[in-house]
């Protein structure tokens, strides 16, 4: 991987030599991806956003991307090369690029950076993320009613606030419709490893789970559920519609295209500023994939009602009363969570019988 990235860097550097002459014509936009564009999930959707940018701006914008960039020192090299190559705007699309993005951005004050799902900003670094937890709430609502064993398996990636938020949102809404529901959580410590994800799914199924929620990027858990025959899944990051109508009964889809087009336009217009964007179902950054007919009509109707209330803002996915896992009060009756707590969420809500890895 290291060498691959190095060679990619070398290719980019070669591009610099030839591309320097035409520097001020098109706006160059770089994308750093954590997985391959063919993962069918997270990176795939970011790449769809990139393609939408290309289509929208035509010759006015040129895009470059590097895929499967490890989180860590390699990311610094890739971003530095992109900046040297003349990129005007660089999207770094994984939480683990946070410190690297800030580091490289400080060396290239004229280049704009956009870091996905992080919380560190600078004058030339914006952050953006989607309120995936709204989608998780809908998943929990459906999952809690679909499970017959009352055991829901959850394939988690890394113990970071975004993932913990998703677990809490899904659990709260599953427990709301089914008080007997139990969550079994497996930490895979990877965003993308199909074999490991398949193994995790199989283990959860063996232990009685008949609904699998995943916060990893490949479609392997969907295939494992399909092989098991009677296990419900949800598409993650991408629609994963090839597994519909069953096991995949719905999905959370990340739609980055409108945001990417907006931000590129801002760079072209010279109006780009460091911002913090956190959009949900309302502005369309989070979409809920079609709920298939494998879900009984009344469950589907109540889920669609919930989507609508989340969309209009009438309902917040974290609305009290909610207690922390230790029983202390987090949100009083009717109170809704503030973004600060959500962004730094490091605790489970009451009822989840597990511990967060430290």
């Amino acid at each position: 991987m290291t060498i691959k990235t190095f060679l990619t860097g070398a290719t980019l550097a070669a591009g610099l030599a030839t591309g320097a002459a035409a520097q001020d014509d098109p706006t160059t936009v770089g994308f750093v991806y954590v997985g391959p564009v063919g993962d069918g999930g997270w990176t795939y959707e970011h790449n769809q956003g990139r393609l939408a940018v290309e289509e929208h701006f035509g010759d006015a914008v040129e895009t470059v991307f590097v895929e499967s960039v490890p989180e860590g020192a390699d990311a610094v090299r890739v971003m530095t090369q992109m900046a040297l190559q003349g990129a005007d705007l660089i999207f770094t699309t994984s939480f683990g690029y946070m410190d690297q993005t800030i580091e490289v951005a400080s060396q290239f004050p004229d280049v704009k950076f956009e870091h996905a799902t992080g919380y560190k900003r600078a004058d030339n670094v914006s952050t953006y993320s989607a309120r995936f937890y709204e989608g998780r709430a809908v998943q929990g609502h459906i999952a809690g009613q679909m499970t017959e064993s009352n055991i829901i398996g959850y394939i988690a990636s890394y113990p970071i606030p975004e993932v913990i938020r998703g677990i809490n949102a899904a659990y709260l809404h599953a427990a709301e419709v089914n008080p007997d529901v139990e969550f079994r959580i497996v930490w895979a410590y990877t965003w993308f490893d199909p074999a490991k994800e398949a193994e995790a799914a199989n283990v959860l199924i063996e232990q009685g789970a008949d609904v699998i929620l995943q916060h990893t990027d490949s479609t392997a858990p969907q295939a494992a559920a399909q092989a098991a025959g009677d296990v419900v899944t949800f598409g993650q990051a991408s629609d994963m519609y090839e597994f519909a109508p069953f096991p995949r009964v719905s999905s959370i889809i990340d739609d980055w295209a409108p945001y990417y087009i907006d931000r590129v336009q801002a760079v072209i217009d010279g109006t780009w500023e460091s911002t913090d964007t956190w959009d949900g179902i309302g502005p369309g950054m989070v979409a809920i994939g079609e709920i298939t007919d494998a879900v009984p009509a009344e469950i589907k109707a109540s889920a669609e009602d919930m989507i609508e209330r989340l969309r209009t803002g009438e309902y917040h996915a974290f609305t009290g009363p909610i207690n922390r896992q230790d029983g202390s009060v987090w949100l009083a009756e009717g109170e809704t969570a503030d973004d600060g707590t959500l962004l730094g969420m490091d605790f489970y809500v009451e009822g989840i019988d597990a511990e967060i890895p430290q």
Binding site: G40, T190, E199, V203
Partner: protein, 305 residues
């Protein structure tokens, strides 16, 4: 809290055989390559190439068996690139092997375009009659897909070949001291080329096991480092086939066990569970460590020197 009763030990042991098979296949091939004195670090690249070749052939022919054959051929062809470069052009084996991995990752992504999201033809488990019905042992040992047994057969075959056959002795002689083997009239390059292709074919099978059985679908980069683990297991197994089997099963077993413990809510920190497969495999194989590396491992050979 912890609910260990939800872990079914029979399913656990059964799934470790499946989890270990891709690594086992790739590692046993590399073992033969290294015993012939060649260090091919391109296992990951050959695995992923095998994964995509096997998937493409299986989807187009509808036969997983043809898929596995295609994977072996694909892996062997890719290893041929390595063989020609290192044996005929005497390129550095470490650098060439690393390049092979990069090349394999890129090539597989190219071949695999258009195969993302497609389902592989089913590869049913073998329910071996009578044996499969034995309580406890039956479901653990005798109810897997055929490739699990193919993997075991290859290990046994490699062991018998290296230990008892004349050809195996020659291969080991070439690996231990290529000058002496050459002086005795053995064709060092031919032996090594054959070993390299065998290694490529096995790595291809291991990759195809992921894309056709374990996952089963094609995704770019899906081997996710399995080839590197296979390489490490060869070294820690002291280049011995049965130790290698132990290492691969141990790694697969602890991987499955730690996921089971997590799902059951074991009161052990997840970080420790996640490292457990690596630590356990290294610890056991180092403690048992007996052999040393083949004498000519990684060195180029030319008859004039």
């Amino acid at each position: 809290m912890m609910d260990l009763s939800s872990i079914n030990p029979i399913l656990l042991v059964a799934s470790l055989m499946v989890a270990a098979t891709p690594i086992l296949l790739a590692a046993i091939g590399e073992l033969v390559v290294e015993r012939s004195g060649v260090l091919n670090l391109g296992v990951e690249g050959m695995m992923i190439t095998g994964a995509v070749c096997g998937f493409v052939v299986a989807v187009n022919s509808g036969s997983p068996w043809l898929g596995f054959i295609g994977a072996a051929v694909g892996g062997a062809l890719l290893s041929l690139v390595f063989g020609v470069l290192t044996q005929f052009f005497l390129s550095n084996q470490v650098a060439t092997g690393l390049a092979l991995t990069l090349f394999g990752l890129g090539l597989s992504a190219l071949i695999g375009q258009g195969y993302i999201g497609i389902k592989a033809p089913a590869f049913p488990d073998w329910d071996i009659p009578i044996l499969g019905d034995i309580p406890i042992i039956g479901p653990i040992v005798f109810q897997h897909d055929p490739m699990v047994y193919v993997g075991l057969l290859i290990v046994a075959g490699v062991w018998a070949f290296l230990t008892y056959s004349r050809a195996g002795l020659i291969l080991r002689a070439v690996g231990e001291n290529h000058e002496a083997a050459h002086a005795l009239g053995y064709h060092v390059m031919r032996v090594r080329m054959l070993a390299i292709m065998f290694g490529g074919a096995c790595a291809g099978l291991g990759g195809a096991y992921l894309s056709l059985v374990r996952v089963p679908q094609w995704t770019e980069g899906m081997t996710a480092g399995a080839g590197w683990i296979a390489l490490a297991i060869v070294v820690f197994a002291s280049w011995r086939p049965w130790r290698l089997l132990l290492g691969a099963y141990l790694f697969g077993g602890v991987t499955v066990l730690q996921l089971n413990l997590q799902a059951a809510g074991a009161a052990i920190a997840v970080e420790y569970l996640s490292m457990a497969p690596y630590l356990a495999t290294i610890a056991v194989l180092v403690i048992m460590r007996a052999g040393r590396a083949p004498g000519s491992l990684g060195q180029s050979f030319h008859a004039s020197r």
